[in-house]
């Protein structure tokens, strides 16, 4: 057990070192992240101009929502992107992974931890600490709220990881993945509440979004962070996240089991 953990730990360490070697990539990524933050900050500022609060949400909480959302997206974005997983399946590189004595989905997770850790320490943490000090947004006021936020954000991370890898593994059946990835990116940008929180959705669309797993990725942690979600509603939201994580994980396992039986290598 400890030996296994040590082995996966090596992947984390290696990927951390790799990320450190390609610092340029991390810093261009943070530039893109800040541009997006800037864009949405001013969109919301313009939308709120002349309005005090809309649907019980003030501009200040909306700004905080966007800030924490962008910080979380920065962390998520440092993992292996969908196109890279697809590329590995398409080129057949994934076959090599099957020969090795480890579990591929778990190995990928630990590899992502390494690059995320590096990116978090050198880019997201310093930058967002500075932004938070300047803007002083709404933050969790109690210790338990902070803990629940971290718990929810972690659950959100694993949900996104399972969904993204599952979508990536669909490449085994499709080879050409245009269309599939667009569904993924659209869902992850709209239904996750990454830029527009679900409470501003039209009623019917909010219901659709609430029945999908994507809301657990950003919407739930963000809402906990800015204090829009509390009490019993918060516990229900957390429970929903756990259920979705279990479902997504089971799906990932199923798809991976089927995929590894069905390796088609182009040109091999």
């Amino acid at each position: 057990m400890i030996g296994t953990l040590k082995m996966y730990g090596v992947f984390t360490r290696k990927s951390f070192q790799r990320a450190a070697a390609y610092r340029f990539d991390a810093w261009t990524r943070i530039l893109g992240n800040v541009i997006t933050l800037f864009l949405w900050g001013f969109i919301w500022y313009a939308l709120y101009r002349g309005k005090g609060s809309v649907g019980n949400v003030s501009f200040h909480s909306m700004l905080s929502y966007i800030l924490i959302s962008q910080a979380l997206q920065g962390i998520h974005g440092a993992g292996t992107p969908l196109w890279e997983i697809q590329e590995r399946v398409r080129t057949g590189d994934i076959a090599i992974e099957l020969l090795k004595p480890y579990d591929y989905p778990l190995r990928m997770l630990f590899t992502d931890f390494g690059s995320i850790f590096f990116y978090f320490l050198t880019a997201v943490l310093p930058l967002y600490t500075a932004i938070f000090l300047i803007i002083s947004p709404i933050m969790p006021t109690t210790f338990s709220q902070g803990v629940l936020f971290i718990l929810s954000a972690t659950l959100g991370y694993f949900i996104r990881y399972c969904i993204e890898l599952t979508f990536g593994l669909f490449t085994f059946w499709l080879v050409e993945t245009g269309g599939v990835e667009d569904i993924f990116y659209f869902s992850i940008s709209l239904f996750s509440g990454s830029v527009v929180p679900l409470w501003f959705f039209p009623n019917w669309l909010e219901h659709v979004a609430l029945y999908l797993p994507f809301q657990g990725i950003y919407f739930v942690p963000n809402s906990i962070f800015v204090g829009q979600l509390s009490g019993q509603a918060l516990l229900i939201a957390l429970f929903t996240q756990v259920v979705w994580l279990a479902v997504c994980y089971a799906l990932l396992r199923y798809v991976w089991a089927r995929a590894s039986m069905k390796i088609v290598i182009q040109g091999g």
Binding site: T28, L39, F42, I43, V54, G55, D182, Y185, S189, L190
Partner: protein
Amino acid sequence: MLQSWLRGMRMYFYMIGVSIRTQLQYRYAFVMNILGWAMTYAGTAITMWVLLYSFGAIEGWSFWELLFLFALSVLSWGVCVVFFFHFRTLDQFIVQGTFDRFLVRPIHPFFHFMAMKFDVGAFGQFLFSIVAMVIAYKKLNLHWNVWLWLVFLGAVIGGTLIQGGLLIAISAMAFWTTRSERVYWVVMWPAKSLMNYPLSIYPRAVQVLVTFVMPFAFVNYLPALLLLGKTSGIYPPYWGFFSILVGVIFFWLCFQLWMLGLNRYNSAGS
């Protein structure tokens, strides 16, 4: 001079003919590529609709006006994608040393690189932008006269040159830093999405930047002010006429930058 130009044009058409045929080899990928792009833009439009559902308008722009603004930039971006989108991948050619082959052929390297691909995937952009614009035109009860149609045409050509120029400038970076594709996806893509919304929502410094340095303002915002009959406190209304002029100058500058980089190019060795 004229003869070499004609020869160049003939070669260009021959090469893009080959490029189109290669892309049509994979029917499913071809169709999905087009639908995928159309869906991506439709997704952004849906996000805009959701935003304005609770708020009504952004800086006095209704949803249909916003959709028009967005679709105008997607249309010229589509034309730009057809000719210049593959410039972002220049770094791969430099890193792998395959760029050398562009230098040893009897055709201008820039032209040769440009002729390498004629991206038919851009029909996704056309599909989305034309459908969106027709709906917006109907919903907003627009009736353009000849002049406004000329402004529209100018915006499409100028927008193509401006965005194409930026792609070329980013690809020129590869000559110095051996990076271009990532810079495109993580910097230019988010920066480009700034112009999906009316520029008046941004602080003055950004407005100056996207008007005079990276002239995104001339791609859609300034022409759209004229085309939709809107006024803005800051910009004189006739500025929208100048899209083509700005496009030509900016493209020329970016081309010079690319040539500067080309002269500096050293092969990857061994």
